[in-house]
Symmetry: C2
Subunit: 117 residues, 2 copies
DNA sequence: GCCGTACTACGACGGGTATCGTACAAGGGT
DNA sequence: ACCCTTGTACGATACCCGTCGTAGTACGGC
């Protein structure tokens, strides 16, 4: 072992390099939007395996990476698990109200489509 | 001539078929985001040729179609010109505050990058 | 040490898409 | 009628991306 707390490091963009276009692109995928909604609902850090997604584990890894590299989420290793958290503070500092608006929009759309069923 | 006002019809999604993912995807392209920002700044309908974009006319046509088919803008022919307008009412009814949040975020990001230059 | 769990890396594949060039259509002005 | 302006259609191209399967790594428990 080399370091005590973080054996495996994960690259995250610093706050000032988060690009709006990348964030919007990350949120425009249904699977990723669902991940973000789940994370917003449960306010704590969640492991990747918490999410029950309609794709394989490889694809899940891919989506989490897109979310991390776009600056939407933060990831940390904790043993074999990988904990995920929204970068709510960073996003709100850069783009005030954006994340909330997207989450509210997703909720509204979900309510509409469920109501129609 | 067949009809008096609209010789050439353009397909638009009705309000209830506008999908959040499609809107976010439409706004995640730099060229399209710039178009939307310009339209929001000038509150009136604008012809396609108003915009000074770093792509050819073919590509411009493509981007306007993506914006129209995702429900972000409305297009109408007026002679040889094609007038474009944001579907602000529809978007605000479906996703309250979303468009404003994206526009504010784009302004904030533009201010930051200009300030750094 | 061994195994199981959690996640990753890599390659492949199919579909989407941003871009262009060229050729074309529609409409207004002279 | 002619042309110019405005925008479209279509094909081509190169790239991106979502998906998968398989093989592999890291860590914790037994």
């Amino acid at each position: 072992m080399t370091t005590a707390t973080s054996p495996r490091a994960l690259e995250h963009p610093p706050r000032d390099r988060i690009r709006l276009e990348a964030v919007l692109h990350a949120l425009s995928d249904p699977v990723r939007l669902r991940i973000v909604r789940d994370m917003a609902r449960e306010a704590t850090e969640l492991s990747c395996s918490y999410f029950d997604l309609p794709v394989t584990k490889s694809t899940t890894t891919h989506h989490f990476r897109v979310l991390r590299e776009s600056g939407v989420i933060q990831q940390m290793y904790r043993g074999t698990a990988k904990l995920n958290a929204l970068r709510g503070e960073d996003l709100d500092a850069l783009f005030p109200g954006l994340l909330d608006a997207v989450l509210a929009a997703a909720d509204a759309q979900a309510a509409r489509t469920e109501g129609a069923a």
